[in-house]
């Protein structure tokens, strides 16, 4: 794991220095998951491919430099999701997922008990609360919390106004707080960690 991480750092450095082979290797290590993850946010494979390429080109041009701290994966994701927003802006809004049809419940997979433990299902008090949110509210939380976007960026990704993102995040927090209060569980993370700035 740590050797992998240092390997990634070496690759990043070599790519920024203009080593084409390193660019190819970095792509081989990261393009796959980035493609999968971006595909969950955009229905058009072409736009996703563009965003993935733009991500690595940005690294190649040294337009984005890794300043240490945090995982390389998080760093690359931060570039990737913003490149996707740029690509969506070029292509128009029709390429976005409609949030209500993003997944079909019928095809949901049951996660094995072992995996449930792995991904932290013992803290599942929050999970039903999250699941109870409407798709729009969840999408707003996903963009601002999980994807780490600013309100403005989230608004562009979701194709709604900034004010809408703000109000949805606000409503989502309230709904979560209420749901957790009902469950009499411990406290929700502090409000500012939801990062709606």
């Amino acid at each position: 794991m740590s050797s992998d991480a240092s390997h990634d750092l070496e690759l990043l450095r070599a790519v920024a220095a203009g080593d084409e082979e390193a660019l190819g290797r970095l792509y081989d290590r990261h393009a796959g998951w980035l493609t999968v993850r971006l595909s969950r946010r955009c229905s058009s494979p072409e736009v996703v491919d563009q965003a993935v390429q733009d991500t690595f080109l940005a690294l190649w041009r040294g337009a984005e430099t890794y300043r240490g701290g945090g995982d390389v994966g998080a760093f690359i994701w931060g570039i990737g999701i913003r490149r996707l927003i740029d690509a969506l802006r070029r292509e128009g809004p029709s390429m976005r997922w409609s949030w209500s049809t993003r997944r079909s419940k019928s095809s949901e997979v049951v996660v094995s008990a072992e995996d449930q433990v792995l991904v932290g299902v013992e803290h599942g008090r929050l999970a039903p609360a999250l699941a109870s949110l409407s798709p729009e509210l969840r999408a707003a939380l996903e963009a601002t919390v999980l994807d780490g976007l600013t309100t403005a960026e989230a608004a562009r990704l979701l194709g709604v106004a900034e004010g809408t993102v703000k109000s949805r995040c606000h409503r989502a927090r309230q709904a979560l707080r209420a749901a957790l209060a009902d469950a009499q569980g411990p406290t929700l993370p502090n409000e500012h960690t939801w990062g709606t700035t």
Binding site: D28, W33, R40, Q53, L146
Partner: protein, 295 residues
């Protein structure tokens, strides 16, 4: 419904702490419920092994194709600062790409322009200095400088037009991109690239303060004449003709009048008229710019 929470990634990390293939597959094919997908994403953000494992769920050909496009785009090279600036002010990117295709050529040419101007300006300064010791000042020492400016513009245009300087000119000729656009783009860049050093050098030679501005119209006129002549005669003959439209007046005027009369205001009117007339000819006959079809 299984609803894991994204917060607890750290516990899933570590020895053996990786997501099962089934979960990854469900995530990659968008069959995981949304909250569970959040957990997966939070995990893969920091877990290198699971990231690599996700690669298996993307079409190999798609990844390979995008990889080669990426490497091609990377190898094309990055636009320099000048190109980015021009692109920002609205010059089409592909046009800049065409112009950038001859940078080494342009660099050596620009260097020679600067070299020639430096020598000529130096000579003028020196001659003026010696002259001043003797009698009163005369602008006759400026004749070499006057001669050289527009001729350098012409040299740049020749670079743009003569196939000799473009090793792949046959490709350009057989391509659908309009030959006239290519030639004009190159000629305009040659004009601008020559005007700048000529105007700067004019500040340093011992002429009057208005000399830099006075050089612009003759340069433009010679440039227009060259373009017009190329549509009528061959490139070499056109170069001779347009050079003569500048050299002859300079020499003739210098013989009978003060040398700078050739760029004073009444002469400027003549240069402007010549530039306009030549521009009209070049425009009317623009179809003739195309290589191989000038006969």
């Amino acid at each position: 419904m299984t609803t894991p929470f994204p917060d607890q990634v750290a516990s899933a990390d570590g020895p053996g702490g990786h997501l099962g293939g089934e979960v990854l597959a469900a995530y990659a094919t968008n069959r995981l419920d949304e909250v569970a997908a959040w957990s997966v994403e939070a995990h893969v953000t920091t877990c290198s092994a699971c990231r690599v494992a996700l690669r298996a769920f993307v079409d190999r050909d798609r990844l390979a194709r995008n990889r080669s496009v990426l490497l091609a785009a990377a190898a094309v090279g990055e636009p320099g600062p000048a190109r980015r600036l021009l692109s920002r002010v609205g010059v089409p990117e592909h046009l800049l790409g065409l112009l950038a295709a001859t940078p080494s050529l342009r660099r050596s040419w620009l260097l020679s322009v600067l070299g020639v101007l430096a020598v000529v300006a130096g000579e003028s300064v020196l001659a003026n200095h010696l002259w001043n010791r003797g009698s009163g000042s005369t602008w006759g020492v400026l004749v070499p400088f006057l001669l050289v400016g527009p001729l350098l513009v012409l040299g740049g245009v020749a670079l743009a037009f003569l196939p000799l300087f473009d090793p792949s000119h046959q490709l350009a000729a057989a391509a659908p991109f309009p030959g006239v656009n290519l030639l004009l783009a190159r000629a305009v860049s040659a004009l601008l690239a020559a005007l700048l050093p000529v105007a700067v050098a004019a500040f340093f030679v011992p002429g009057p303060g208005w000399l830099p501005a006075a050089m612009l119209l003759p340069c433009l006129a010679v440039w227009c004449v060259a373009l017009a002549a190329v549509t009528v005669v061959g490139a070499t003959a056109a170069a001779v003709v347009s050079a003569a439209t500048w050299v002859l007046p300079v020499i003739v005027v210098a013989a009978s009048h003060p040398a700078l009369a050739v760029v004073r205001w009444h002469a400027q009117v003549a240069w402007a008229a010549l530039a306009a007339a030549a521009a009209v000819v070049a425009f009317v006959r623009r179809d003739r710019f195309e290589m191989g079809w000038t006969r």
